[in-house]
């Protein structure tokens, strides 16, 4: 399972991005996007913003679960109070088989299972905590890129812990 995580500002501008692979089930935490897919990640995530914009006034929950799918790429979303979007693109190593009779609970195998949804929620929640710490600084202005290596390591740790 490979992940591409992006934080998108209120002007649809990217503020942070991070690519990683699963650390579960013996995963080494390294993303394995095929080279051509890697270039697509940003565009897939960006194109799901329209859906996010529609959904944002329909529900007040911050966690939107999986909101978009592009072939084997699933996009989950979390929206902060300040309308900043956390988008997580998750691409299972093997395409998920719809209506499989042998339902697997592994996050890697089933991108829309409740277990996966919950794991992603926990990931987002932990990132949110660190996000709020970032924006509380008087020197953080809206839509500023986040360059802090500490923030990056916090996101990495959350990914490792839950995904």
């Amino acid at each position: 399972m490979s992940y591409y995580f992006a934080i998108i500002g209120t002007q649809d501008n990217p503020l942070f991005e991070y690519e990683f692979g699963t650390a579960k089930q013996g995963g080494d935490g390294v993303a394995r996007f095929p080279e051509q897919a890697r270039h697509m990640n940003q565009f897939i995530v960006h194109s799901s913003l329209d859906i996010v914009e529609e959904a944002q006034w329909a529900q007040g929950q911050m966690y939107f679960k999986c909101i978009d799918r592009f072939y084997n790429n699933y996009v989950s979303c979390f929206m902060t109070g300040g309308n900043v979007k956390f988008l997580l693109l998750h691409a299972p190593s093997q395409p998920a088989i719809a209506n499989t009779s042998r339902a697997s609970t592994s996050i890697a195998a089933n991108p829309t299972s409740p277990q996966t949804e919950e794991a992603i929620k926990q990931f987002f929640t932990e990132v949110y905590e660190n996000w709020v710490k970032t924006i509380m600084s008087p020197f953080y202005h809206v839509n500023m890129e986040v360059k802090s290596p500490v923030f990056r390591s916090r996101v990495a740790a959350a990914g490792k812990k839950y995904l």
Partner: protein, 226 residues
Amino acid sequence: MASSQPVKPPLAGQPAQAQRGSQAGLKYPSSGKTIYNRPLNRSRTQELSQASFAYLFGEMVSYAQKRVTGIQDLEKRLNVQGHPIGLKLLDLLLYREPTRSQTRPLNIIALLQFITTALWRHLFSRPADALEKSSNPETPDEYMISDNEPLVNQYISVPKEMNQLNCAAFVAGIVEGVCDGAGFPARVTAHSVGKGEEGELWPGKTVFLVKFQPEVVEREAYLGKS
């Protein structure tokens, strides 16, 4: 970590991404004392003296006074200084809500209730005194939040030539920041309604006029129908 971080082309015409591991970067103490190590709720219930707030606020006002040409300009400046605080508090306070009620406000009423309760309690340890919708059919985009005794006006002795000044413009800026951040762009202004007469119950009473932009009202009407 670095191995999984190729530098990618920027998104759709956006300015270049932050180069990772930029050689300079911030330094951190070895104790690991950074903003990320400090629990967000640590100062949630902590208190400082009201005097320390009054002194800082007073200096903010007199500094601003030197750089403006009139009262309106000064109030605008105080508003601008409050605005980022609103943006920050919006998420800090939502973060602190119990999971069940941790929801983004979806309509004007939910937003204003968040402001008059959660925000006011946080800043002033009590809810606002009243929330009303404009009864004027010409201005359905206007709402009024009343505070009988704004904290920011209690300690500030305004110079005579500035007696029109309402320092609650700073609070108005905070409120405006919350509105803008939550996706309800608005203009918020503070107005003294107390007449300053002797024997008056609330001589410092202030009304915060929240005027939403047309798109907010339109969206509200549209969402209400569906």
